[in-house]
Amino acid sequence: MAIRARRYADAKAQASTNTELLWWVFMRVSGVVMVFLVLGHILMNFVLIDVNTINYQYVAGRLSNTTWKIYDWLILVLAMLHGMNGLRYVMDDWIRDPSRRFVTKAVVYSLAVLVTVVGSFSLLNHDFSKDLSQNTPTQGTMTKP
């Protein structure tokens, strides 16, 4: 069961398992970190620049930059874990029938894994330099053997 405490001491008393208490702590720690990561991300990509100018060139450039790879991947992983655990609280609350709850969770968790894998590949395991180099030639890179 999700914890409904308003203090750490209450949370500890109410936690059915150690794992549940760990999630309770994780929701708060990841939350504090994400305030800066998420609001900073929105500021950089929506408020300070015109979203209408965002195109492939902009995205591929960002996805090729090590700083943004780390920054964006941190958001992806923290928000996915935090959001999915939050959704687990909501599903436990709203879906009464155990078998329907089980099926819903199975579908939702599978989707989450899929999106996380696809997102991680785009950030960590894809070389964008080939398409980018059409406009900004880089010397000596991407030469086929």
Partner: protein, 124 residues
């Protein structure tokens, strides 16, 4: 519920904004990751999301992020300080105030661009 009127609204808005952000995380991740399939696919999808109605949606997602962030900090203050629960109502008005305060310059910057794009038939 036990924390009365404001507490109930604070909780409901926190839940809805959290779910909205999660839905956005899914769509946004797939949209950005589509760059792996090259400029043609990526730019088509991006042009689709630059339609004005989605930009209004983007404003709502931003509002959800601000509310959920600041109210999350309020929850954390209530959990870890001796005085947080006592002032939870005042803190909630602080959260709403901060959202409105930040929304004003944000809207001044973003709304003209959205209107401009709308009058030029969408993005790109």
């Amino acid at each position: 519920m036990y924390r009365g009127r404001e507490g109930q609204w604070a909780f409901f808005l926190h839940r809805i904004s959290g779910l909205a952000l999660l839905l956005w995380l899914f769509i946004h991740t797939l949209n950005i990751a589509s760059a792996m399939w090259g400029p043609a696919v990526s730019n088509r999808l991006m042009a689709f999301f630059h339609v004005p109605i989605f930009q209004i949606g983007l404003l709502l997602v931003t509002a959800a992020a601000m509310y959920h962030s600041f109210n999350g900090l309020r929850i954390i203050l209530m959990d870890f300080t001796g005085w947080g629960v006592r002032y939870q109502r005042q803190l909630w008005y602080g959260v709403l105030g901060l959202c409105v305060l930040l929304a004003i310059p944000g809207l001044i910057l973003t709304v003209p661009r959205i209107l401009h794009a709308a009058s030029h038939g969408g993005g790109q």
